[in-house]
């Protein structure tokens, strides 16, 4: 019996010929990630561990300040300082403070810290993003991260895999975000719990790296442990531009066993929207626009859709226009590099001229942290990945999740709008 892509990577990292679903393994990690919130708790745990003085390898740990940056208050600042002091003390090589990094999941691939075949754990549930590069990557809590800091290993239960096969060519204004929202809608928010998602098919072969990032990122929204793509020429070119570290490209065996195989034809897919209050409450945009839904805030950003490609789509739609009155648009480029690229391309000016507030890279409004928190009774449409009650602030607010194009179209009209309805963006 062959192995899935996830099983292959896990087997190699625990020195076994073969692993199978359900098996508990001790795997070596290539990289351990934490942000200022998860790191603070992990550092506290590590300080309390007898015999834990040093991290296993200061070149294999990445610490990124992104959730409350620039610090929203003294308490947030003290967590960031705790992480910075730890980075200095432990000589952590990959430490990114505000102004040098951005959102952790945008920064790590950009910096060449993610390569195919690697095993990465992070103190953040969206660590699964790195599956876009053919890596096994999963999120954990701070105590597990503290253990990984000092041991360079984690215990894992080998997940069974669900194979998703996408066929067909998407219509104009339909993006990877729409495909993934549809997928989460189909699987349900616990439909892939304890499972690996393996993405296949001609549609995803054609997708850009950013598109694959968007899809791998939201594997956790179906409860999955990880979501993974096969690395191809595009992946290898992207990674080799950023690192000369050797890596091993793994492939699923032809006779690998999958718990389920789901085929999704995207040819007829409309733009999709996740309605309040769960990311699996997904509907085609035509159903959503049947109700006239005015919005108070549009948010563009996050580790799902805070990339240069996303900002280009938004800028193309807003170019030379003004956003609707009685609405605010907040844009958080995903990283410092994305911000600089967007500045060079004139995108930031286009957005600002249209009436958008452009923030410093970071998580900001995505998790109701700061820089765009929603108030009682407000409705937002957002390019982010979660719309649980209170996710972006008030528990009495409503969050709709959609693609950058759908969010930009809604910014122009002031209500949830089908981007295909905008005549001038005909592809």
């Amino acid at each position: 019996m062959g192995m899935t892509l996830t099983e292959k990577i896990l087997a190699r990292h625990c020195g076994l010929e073969l692993v199978e679903p359900g098996q508990i393994v001790n795997a070596k990690v290539d990289l351990v990630l934490a942000n200022e919130l998860s790191a603070a708790v992990a550092i506290k745990v590590m300080r309390g561990m007898t015999g834990a003085k040093r991290v296993f390898d200061p070149s294999r740990i990445a610490l990124v300040a992104d959730h409350f940056v620039p610090a929203k208050d003294a308490q947030s600042a003290s967590l960031a300082k705790l992480m910075k002091d730890f980075a200095i003390e432990q000589k952590i090589e990959h430490f990114f403070d505000v102004g040098r990094g951005g959102i952790e999941h945008v920064v790590l691939p950009e910096e060449g810290l993610v390569a195919p075949g690697e095993l990465i754990v992070g103190g953040d549930s969206h660590t699964c993003t790195y599956g876009a590069f053919g890596a096994f990557a999963t999120g954990m809590g701070s105590t597990d991260i503290a253990a990984a800091f000092v041991l360079g290993e984690v215990w894992l239960k080998v997940p069974a895999s669900i194979k998703l096969v996408y066929e067909g060519k998407t219509q104009p204004m339909v993006y990877a975000k729409d495909i993934m929202l549809r997928t989460v809608g189909e699987l349900g928010i616990d439909g892939a719990t304890y499972r690996a998602i393996e993405y296949h098919g001609s549609t995803v072969d054609e997708l850009s790296i950013t598109g694959r990032i968007t899809m791998a990122n939201m594997a956790i929204e179906a409860g999955a442990k990880n979501g993974i793509f096969h690395a191809d020429a595009k992946t290898i070119a992207y990674v080799k531009e950023r690192t000369d570290r050797p890596f091993v490209v793994e492939r699923a065996d032809a006779d690998a066993a999958y718990e389920r195989v789901i085929r999704i034809d995207v040819g007829e897919l409309e733009p999709q929207v996740a309605c309040p209050h769960t990311p699996d409450n997904v509907h085609p945009i035509s159903e959503v626009t049947r109700e006239d839904l005015p919005v108070d805030q549009v948010f563009i950003g996050s580790c799902t859709n805070g990339y240069i490609e996303d900002l280009r789509v938004v800028a193309q739609i807003l170019e030379g226009k003004r956003i609707a009155p009685n609405l605010r648009v907040i844009v958080n480029p995903g990283s410092q590099k994305v911000w600089m690229q967007a500045a060079q391309e004139g995108i930031l000016t286009t957005l600002a001229a249209a009436g958008c507030a452009v923030n410093t890279p970071g998580c900001g409004a995505c998790f109701g942290g700061h820089m765009g928190t929603l108030g009682d009774g407000e409705r937002a449409i957002s390019t982010t990945n979660r719309n649980y009650v209170g996710r972006m602030g008030s528990p009495k607010a409503e969050i709709y999740l959609a693609s950058p194009a759908t969010c930009a179209a809604s910014a122009l009209t002031g209500r949830i709008t089908d981007p295909r309805a905008l005549a001038y963006v005909e592809a």
């Binding site: 929203k72 953040d124 809590g141 701070s142 000092v150 616990d190 942290g369 649980y388």
Partner: protein, 168 residues
């Protein structure tokens, strides 16, 4: 873990996510007692005012879905809640709860039978759930052997300490 836990049930639905267990704005707090003051605030702002130390959260499927924030189980524990009974738990929350020593019980039968306000007694050692109000008892799913050995070793931290000692 203590041998017996006792308190009244507070019942909730499915998919109780980490954003309602401890809203993002409080994630810059690391003190368990401070976090505990906001436990479940996004779902039931009255919870911490109404509950008494030892009380038990009872919920449907997929409890703790969403973020990896360990402050979610820490907040529940910090509030004085003694345990969570659910039909199923989200993966990261399950690991975190065990790592920080928040007792969790998986039992569909218990969740279906228990009503808010019922007095419950729990034995984490053997997974017994006793409904004192109704005079019934239910069994929680057993922990997989590896998890059991971690729990018996006192949790992940002692396990890591042992591994470190072996290396030196």
């Amino acid at each position: 873990m203590e041998s017996k836990l006792r308190g009244h049930a507070h019942k909730y639905g499915k998919n109780v996510d980490t954003d309602v267990i401890i809203p993002g704005k409080y994630c810059n707090i690391i003190d368990p007692i401070e976090l505990g003051k906001h436990a479940l605030e996004g779902l039931d702002p009255e919870y911490t005012g109404r509950m008494r130390a030892g009380d038990i959260i009872v919920a449907d499927t997929n409890f703790g879905c969403g973020s990896s924030r360990e402050v979610a189980p820490i907040a529940i524990k910090g509030s004085g809640t003694s345990a969570v009974i659910a039909k199923s738990f989200a993966r990261i929350f399950y690991r975190n709860a065990l790592n920080i020593g928040l007792p969790i019980f998986e039992s569909a039968e218990a969740v279906d039978r228990i009503e808010s306000g019922d007095e419950i007694e729990l034995e984490p050692e053997n997974g017994t759930i006793r409904n004192i109000t109704k005079g019934e008892s239910y069994r929680a799913a057993e922990f997989p052997p590896f998890m059991r050995s971690l729990i018996d070793a006192g949790g992940l931290v002692p396990y890591v300490e042992k591994r470190l000692a072996e290396r030196n």
